[in-house]
Symmetry: C2
Subunit: 165 residues, 2 copies
């Protein structure tokens, strides 16, 4: 029985390993390249504070504005990540119809993905070294039975490996 689950009724055979999430951050994808405007709007409308920004250099000659890979804003005590939709094949937005992904940060991505899948989530591809997602480290994505996409990843990296056009 997973020790972090306080209600033991609904295990459905999920594995025993304890998985700890150190942060949960909703990630909003907006039409490229409006993420910068969106961050400005959230500052103006809700008093959000920007705490972290990762911009990638343009990847194709016809992209005039660098993509905002992620801007982390704080609203109260909550972190929200705002990102441009990217045509990067690694980007989690490829599987996002809702424009939202929940990023779950953990040091043990494999165990967390395995546990989620055993509970009924569907893994979306292999765990990989992420770029173009909320996180720069290892990332695995699962879609839950209710259509929500969860990006399970190591804690947010601050750097982006720029790829010039």
């Amino acid at each position: 029985m997973a020790t972090e689950v306080t209600n033991g009724v609904d295990h459905n055979g999920a594995e025993n390993k304890t998985v700890t999430f150190t942060a949960v951050k909703p990630q909003l994808f907006v039409e490229a390249s409006k993420a910068n405007d969106a961050v400005s709007f959230y500052k103006s409308a809700f008093g959000a504070e920007e705490v972290n920004r990762v911009t990638c250099s343009k990847r194709k000659a016809d992209q005039e504005v660098p993509l905002l890979l992620s801007a982390e804003i704080k609203l109260g005590d909550t972190s929200i990540i705002v990102s441009d939709v990217s045509d990067d094949s690694n980007a989690s937005v490829k599987t996002v119809s809702s424009g939202l992904v929940f990023c779950l940060e953990t040091d043990d991505v494999e165990a967390a993905v395995e546990k989620a899948v055993k509970a009924g989530a569907v893994a979306d591809g292999e765990i990989s070294e992420g770029e173009g997602t909320c996180c720069g480290g290892r990332v695995g994505k699962v879609t839950d039975p209710y259509g929500v996409v969860w990006a399970i990843c190591t804690p947010t990296a601050k750097k982006c490996a720029n790829v010039e056009a």
Copy 2:
């Protein structure tokens, strides 16, 4: 200049009043009446802990299962609200295509809505005494220029005024 905005570049005429948000909670809407299953899944898959639940009695004779108006779960330090989609005309889901609303809790709903609208959000109806939303108190909804719905409300009420069929 709003004191909570640290970057003064992007005010766009938003009013001066300081608005403080005491909590920010993503609210996921799932097909009725699967919210209870979803909560069980999040416990099993991610070790979520349920901290609060508001169930309404059935409202129509053909609804066999009471709606789960809101179940608040904690994942790490983050609260997420899971709700059945309701056919209640007051329910915020009427305006939700994405299945997600961000609930912003504040003691001054009017000022927060006004500030958001001045910054470019579109108000969705009047501020009302909410039921069928994330919150049981006063609630005003706005849609931002990027399609995200924000429910600005007084802090979560624990009770639901049941309406029998």
